[in-house]
Amino acid sequence: MLRGSKRPSRGGFRAVTVLSLLLAACTAGCGSTDREDAAAPDVLTLATTTSTDNSGLLAQIHPDFEKRTGIKVKVVAKGTGASLQLARDGNADVVLVHAPGLERKFVEKGYGVKRHPVMYNDFVIIGPKSDPAGITNAENPAHALMLIADAEHDFVSRGDQSGTHEKEQYLWAITGNYAEPDPETFVLRPTGDWYLSIGQGMGKTISVATEKQAYTLADRGTYYAFALSEPARTDLAILYEGGDDLHNPYSVIAVSPNKHPGVNFEAATKYIEWITSADVQEMIGQYTVQGKMLFHSM
């Protein structure tokens, strides 16, 4: 488009050569790792949520599994919805997720073999310390959301079909007509301008809520990771906690070899036996960040 640009310069040729060499080197490199994975049967792909991965728990306990079995664990951390999709497409061998409703469907449709409870923690409603909507005195978590809706104070939603998003929709459902289902996706949400659905992970959601001084629903582990880090990455406080409605159970499910014969079912079975064993359950219960316990064993 620029005049005279049709004449390729020597520099241009050199740049192209360097670029192609770089590309070739990269493809060769990436290709070889792929082959290693295929040749070695002792790699297990675990699809899990950002909350478990961000908490540092897996990095703490996985070396024990690798030492005992010689199987390397490849952790892919996404939201629960995306993790289950990875598994449905046969791109994971085992999932560790926290959305009981989605998990049941996953097993019923034959993609997963069986749900095994692993651990639990809970969700908390966090927001600005001044608590402008006054949710500290709410009777239950759904009432807390109703108070936020009444005050029309900013609320940030994961909006990504993760376990946390599923829990949030469950709470909106209890509030009755405070939220309406989207006609296409059936996602339940309030219609006001104060409701911000960002379609991203837990960490990003807490960051946006902090910037906007908004309320949000967070899992306790990720919240602690943000609030207790040095320097603290959020100044939001826990304003509502406790009760059965905020219970957050995690399950592990092996991907069915009937749907995807290529999955490493043997390693997945070993992983489930291992993570539900008494030893590992004790390790999970003892895992703390800055002195705070993040998960309870079953």
Partner: protein, 228 residues
């Protein structure tokens, strides 16, 4: 899987999905506004640098050319820190808003508009200036003549800048935050749906993005053709 996704993508596009249209409109208005602002600043700046000899001109040109490859995430991060609640521009509350994104995009493409304009102007014939001066034109009239002569290259600068904004995701994601109904664009929505495993929808958004870029380019080509 790819075929299914492709089929779903095409269906979504032709059903003129309301969300897809909303994201496309937002992407286009952000790109249009940023390109307009960057052009108003960058074209005069490019002409001024090209038409004046001063100490350190070579250094300025080198810096400009380096900034052509400015990484979107760096611009996004820099502006984020400016607009953040605790940052110097925090009181304006522009983070996670469309104007916030536009600020980042303008910074991203200003070097593109300036550098391309500079190159285009520097390449215009010396005779254009002499003729203009000979006919008694003042400095402003000479600059205007030079601009008219280099309009072909300047249009290319504007197209490149627009294309950069419409297709980039770093600035839009960091400064916009992908907030539904407020700052979600074609590119940030695509990233979100890839992360969520909704590949059909992601692919549909990607195809819409391609279609948008294509139509804009065709449009500019027509404008350029009309100028010849």
């Amino acid at each position: 899987m790819l075929l299914d996704a492709l089929r779903n993508a095409i269906r979504l596009i032709f059903s003129l999905d309301a969300e897809v249209i909303e994201y496309a409109q937002r992407s286009l208005s952000i790109a249009g506004l940023s390109t307009l602002i960057a052009s108003l600043l960058g074209i005069p700046l490019g002409i001024l640098i090209a038409e004046h000899e001063f100490r350190g001109k070579r250094a300025v040109v080198t810096v400009l050319n380096t900034l052509l490859a400015l990484p979107t995430v760096v611009v996004g991060l820099f502006v984020y820190m400016l607009l953040s609640r605790t940052g110097p521009l925090g009181p304006l509350q522009l983070l996670f808003t469309v104007p916030g994104i536009v600020i980042g995009e303008v910074l991203l493409i200003l070097p593109i508009v300036t550098a391309f304009t500079l190159t285009a102007v520097a390449r215009t014939d010396r005779d254009v200036r002499k003729t203009a001066l000979a006919t008694g034109a003042n400095t402003r009239q000479v600059l205007w003549t030079v601009f008219r002569e280099s309009r072909f290259g300047v249009t290319a600068a504007v197209i490149a800048a627009f294309g950069r904004v419409v297709s980039e995701v770093g600035v839009a994601m960091i400064l916009g935050g992908n907030v539904d109904r407020f700052t979600r664009t074609l590119t940030t929505a695509t990233v979100q749906h890839v992360d969520m495993g909704n590949f059909a929808l992601a692919l549909a958004l990607g195809l819409v993005l391609l279609a948008v870029s294509l139509s804009i380019n065709v449009l500019f080509q027509l404008i350029q053709g009309g100028q010849k």
